[in-house]
Symmetry: C2
Subunit: 150 residues, 2 copies
Amino acid sequence: MKQSRESVHTLVVARLRESKLLYTQGRRQLVDLLLDFARPVSVAEMLKRKSRLTQSSLYRNLTDLEAEGVVRRVAGNDSVVRYELDEELIGHHHHLVCVKCGYVDDFVVSDATERAIDAALTQAARKSKFTAKGHRLDVLGLCVRCTTAR
Amino acid sequence: MKQSRESVHTLVVARLRESKLLYTQGRRQLVDLLLDFARPVSVAEMLKRKSRLTQSSLYRNLTDLEAEGVVRRVAGNDSVVRYELDEELIGHHHHLVCVKCGYVDDFVVSDATERAIDAALTQAARKSKFTAKGHRLDVLGLCVRCTTAR
DNA sequence: CTCCGTGCAAACTTTTTGCAACGGG
DNA sequence: CCCGTTGCAAAAAGTTTGCACGGAG
């Protein structure tokens, strides 16, 4: 479910406390940064906009926060790693992935569609002896800029 | 639609001819390799099993063949890049992605489900001014080995 | 005060590129 | 033969790590 900025921080504090991780200035600003972008962002983009954390600390924090389920990796179509806040913080959603420039944005589908997808996938996973944890449903295509720019 | 090994090569030849790319021994063996694996494989895996092409040529060929629509990149949950043959060669399908070890395997869903997904996604893309080219529906979970190995 | 977190620089890993030799048509 | 392709080695890009200092509780 989607949360307000305040409650996101509160939830993050709670999760970090469980693993005796500190909610430092750097980590708080990283969460704020992801809230501001409101779409999956690459490490390069974060570094460009941030001063608070150095590159190495940023990588370390992304790794740590991912392990705590605060942030998660988003699969694009290129080899650029992007991150977003966990779905429990910003709500379940899907991605529009530009195959030309790599830009990724969010979108949601109806509950009915979600249920149909879930049913189909759970069954498919069972056949393959996979333990399904969730799914990923993305649209691949061209973003507005790449569509326009021929 | 799924093709026989022979017709895959024939189709590849046709595609390469259009762009004056040669179907060299190395490229042919690369296609054979992907057919053999029958699942998305990483560059490292290809290098381990192949002698025909050096690392740099392998990268160059993957890039070139991707541009020709012969191979395509598969998004895992880690930062490892994996490749598979284009869907016109091996048929439309989806992926089971192990979030623990990165292993990726294929699966298919019913036509009815496919149609429902397509309809929902096309509509969503339109709202965001995205030009939808296709979709990606994957199951994230644990593969058999990782499920067993606790 | 005690640790965890951070900055800095170096080490690694992965991917890309320049150039001369090679091979396909 | 001609031009795209390959190998080798070096360079570039992206990510991780060791260590000493700084900051949170």
